[in-house]
Amino acid sequence: MNRFFTPFFKTLVDHEVTVELKNDISIRGTLKSVDQYLNIKLDDISVVEEIRYPHLSSVKNVFIRGSVVRYVHLPGAAVDTALLEDATRREAAQASAKAKQG
């Protein structure tokens, strides 16, 4: 289903990421797994504004439903930008080829 971003996130497993949810809560933790819906598992989590959002202060690891994610802040050094751009060109070329067929 998500051929493009799922493999990309898999290359970032074991890196620290910050996931900002659509309810404004930001959760920082170690990325443990990602699936086809971009559901995310995080370990050793901390909530960025803990005073405002104390609900998760005793929680160690979470499974986040992909649909509630707004942003994922990524470590810039861990992202292979050339690879991503190449993959985007391929994906866009395939999409336009499909559009012409249909």
Partner: protein
């Protein structure tokens, strides 16, 4: 960035910053987010406060994307 003359192998307009798919999921580099916060003061007048946030690399989930407006080349 790729050679702009190399259009045969790169049908996408360059520069590409950075990645997207058909759901409008995006990965952006060198990001500045501007949040507009509207507050009502004592005289019930709206004041707009902006908060800017920087991020070196950001994934944006496509279902929150409303529009994409490419900047003209500078």
């Amino acid at each position: 960035m790729a050679d702009p003359d190399d259009t045969a192998s790169a049908p996408v307009n360059e520069p590409l910053d950075l990645a997207y798919d058909s759901h409008c999921n995006l990965v952006l580099g060198d990001v500045e987010e501007t949040v507009y916060i509207v507050e009502e003061d004592d005289e019930e007048e709206d004041t707009v406060r902006t908060v800017k946030k920087q991020s070196e690399m950001l994934f944006v989930r496509g279902d929150s994307v409303v529009l994409i407006s490419p900047q003209p080349p500078s």
